[in-house]
Symmetry: C2
Subunit: 224 residues, 2 copies
């Protein structure tokens, strides 16, 4: 393989992550505002060019940190995007990830070398995005929805104690769908993913609700 063959010269790799959170029943995604051309002033997902000395996932996490200050996030690769013209600068193939984090537990850095702002956007109020990030975000959301019903990916949102009505509202926000209280509880408990803490707390209601927490399981199961 010759490095200077024009057929495959000047190629590069983007690592892009759609970071989701849920606030008060609203699913949101983290966007950052570009400071430089191309797409100067446009909002995009966190990400950037992969370095030669890092593996894909490490690069994606480094980019997340550089653009938002977020550390300690677990991410999952879901697809590569590679249309010829997806970047106007040179041929770039994007490896896309999703991540879930509790926005109330992190402090987002608003401005960096390459970005002039950063914020959480409700997924039904997304501005026009730079590059092909609208397409990536659309598929990221579908992937998140498929993951939420088979894995404990929501553990990132509920690292500690939570009530069942509370987590149900999160499921409903992400899946955009309502569940029967009794059936939801029955199903969730039958999965052996969460355990009773024998404590109570309050969510929205007047009556205190039982507090549960995720077990330290790694199993992946069908949820809904």
């Amino acid at each position: 393989m010759k490095k200077n063959n024009a057929l495959y010269k000047n190629q590069g790799i983007h690592v892009i992550t759609a970071i989701f959170t849920v606030e008060f029943g609203i699913t949101k995604v983290l966007l950052v505002k570009r400071k430089n051309e191309p797409y100067k002033g446009d909002w995009i997902l966190t990400g950037g060019a992969l370095y030669n000395n890092e593996d894909l996932e490490d690069g994606a996490k480094r980019e997340i940190f550089e653009k938002s200050g977020i550390t300690d996030i677990s991410i999952e690769q879901f697809k590569a995007f590679g249309k010829v013209d997806r970047s106007p600068v040179m041929r770039m193939v994007a490896i896309a990830y999703i991540g879930v984090i509790d926005s109330s537990r992190v402090k987002i850095i608003r401005e960096t070398n390459n970005t002039s702002n950063a914020d959480w956007f409700p997924i039904d109020k997304i501005p026009g995005l730079g590059f092909d990030h609208e397409e990536i975000l659309k598929e990221a959301l579908l992937y998140l929805q498929s993951k939420i019903v088979t894995t404990d990916i929501l553990k990132a949102l509920f690292p500690n104690e939570f009530t069942i009505p509370e987590i149900q509202k999160t499921y409903e926000a992400i899946l955009n769908k309502k569940f029967d209280r009794r059936n939801f509880r029955k199903k969730l408990l039958s999965l052996d993913l969460i355990e009773d803490t024998n404590k109570t707390g309050k969510f929205e209601g007047k009556k205190p609700a039982k507090l549960y927490k995720f077990k330290d399981t790694i199993e992946s199961k069908k949820v809904f």
Copy 2:
């Protein structure tokens, strides 16, 4: 983004496809033998470097054609592989695909500019592979198994008429699992994917079996 920044200079993209077939109840994958360094003389999956003027999937299909002569194959992207040292020549990220084709209906080109041989290998008798293709193949097989139970991906193996015992043997080969004849037939028919042709033919048994064929559906359903 500066093209000559050492951090991301000299990167490239591989498009790699694991092409599967099933012959007489044995799941096989197409491998080609490398003619040049690196990994000269090693078997690998079909694939190679993406060109600047082609989309990912087009590149994967071009590589399949160049290395094997196969055309008219439908493929599906399943994962990107990007360990820093996965290629000894330069930094290459691989976008990996699976495909299914009926080996009895295609004539494989044995030798090309870059390969000295090509053949179908039973998946439990794979030689050591070059690059990270053993890892890619392992994940490709898992992905194929997940797809076979939710889609009509097997249509590629049975474009025309087939008997139910015949296609059952194919499911069993790929999933490495036996099914009850009655339940298999019931389930497959209930999916509304295949239809009776009112003809009979023979597979292995003495008694002629009914012939079915895939409908022209595009739906994707849960099979097993």
